[in-house]
Symmetry: C2
Subunit: 216 residues, 2 copies
DNA sequence: TCCCATCTCCACCTTTCGATGGAGATGGCC
DNA sequence: GGCCATCTCCATCGAAAGGTGGAGATGGGA
């Protein structure tokens, strides 16, 4: 198994980066790019067709996020191995990607050698998380989970809503909004809504893109 | 001039992306990558040595930002032409890059053909701004400039400081802080500090990275 | 069944924010 | 000199936010 060629699927929406990856990997002995996909839905289709040993996947993808893709494909193909390759997407994404079953998490800033070494390692059944990532993951582990409702409120805060507006939006009283806020401030380890908003963005709890379009 | 090979310098800190770009460009007829740099300072050194026709440059770079690099090099080499190539960096960066003298602004999501066409166009003396970018640029043009002091205050807001803390930090009275806030809320077109914070992050007025490290 | 998390709401209180309408000082620009 | 932007500060006000200590309802899990 280790002497055979490792069949790789590359899932990445940025054309330049994807073509770059393919070009890089194809000149490496023992690696072969057997498929490419530019979004999550395409990733699933291509995966089923080419059954790669390793899937190199970005988290931010059009149509369907990387985490969902990993989750879906891991259910139907027991041996599937995923390496998340991303620029930097907040602690929350790292956490969810590993939860979903990714074996490694790499930043695009790493060297080609590191990338290849990681592909080989994961193919051999190992796991690979860079120290910097592991560090942040550990921090995130220490923090309490937000309840669904607290998350709803936090989302509204990030979108600049007042307590009254949040109450209207979620169809609850302002008192309840305050209760949730009080609770989530504690869990996030911050003291006011502005800090909560920036923390949520920075950790990737609420995606920055959601700010541009009012209606998601 | 148009029949000769276009000499390109690639400035990009992500190894994978950079090598991808180099691999892509080198197989194109009429293009030649004559240099690579992984950070701003290196970019300046390499530029001086190889004197490229076109410099493909990312904005987020270690040691020295892309905007500063462009500004510096444009002063010493009159014919230098720059194409900014980035994922997405808030309206503020687009604006400053073009101000600094970049001829084109491309997202990494574009196709290889677009990239090559843009390089040729810029080399021929043209300018190229994608419609989506131009759109946002126009919006940004309509907004008033923040004064230096207002920017200071906004920065503190993004970092989660209260008015009292900001007053202490900037060594002014809380009343003055309020005055600045009132003014910047109006200029940003928002109604409270939380909206100001998210707007600042989203537009790239205050970099998201500055949140992680309290002391810049 | 009992426990616990969650969601909901209330009252009360203090602090903080944001809005308004001032005003004096500085320094650059015409 | 006069104009204008900027920075600084003041008082006052109402609205919003945050803290505290409750409490009832629900529903799932041990």
């Amino acid at each position: 198994m280790s002497k055979e060629t490792i069949r790789v699927l590359v899932v990445e929406d940025h054309h330049v980066v994807r073509q770059g990856l393919v070009a890089l990997l194809n000149v490496v002995d023992g690696l072969e790019v057997v498929g490419e996909a530019a979004d999550g839905v395409e990733a699933i289709t291509v995966f089923r067709k080419c059954q790669p040993d390793i899937t190199l996947i970005d988290l931010r993808l059009p149509r369907m996020g990387g985490v969902d893709v990993i989750q879906r494909l891991r259910m139907e193909t027991h041996g599937a191995r995923f390496i998340v390759l991303t620029t930097y997407d907040g602690d929350e994404d790292i956490y969810r990607a590993l939860q979903a079953g990714a074996r490694a998490y790499l930043l695009k800033g790493m060297t080609t050698d590191e990338l290849i070494a990681t592909i080989r390692a994961v193919h051999a059944g190992k796991q690979h998380i860079p120290p910097a990532i592991a560090q942040r993951l550990a921090e995130r582990m220490g923090t309490e989970e937000l309840t669904p409702r607290e998350f709803d409120v936090l989302e509204q805060i990030v979108h600049g809503k007042s307590n009254k507006e949040i109450a209207t939006e979620l169809e609850i009283s302002e008192a309840t909004v305050k209760t949730h806020i009080n609770s989530l401030l504690g869990k996030l380890g911050v003291t006011d809504r502005t800090q909560a908003a920036t923390a949520a963005i920075q950790r990737g709890i609420v995606p920055l893109e959601s700010l541009r379009k009012p209606k998601q």
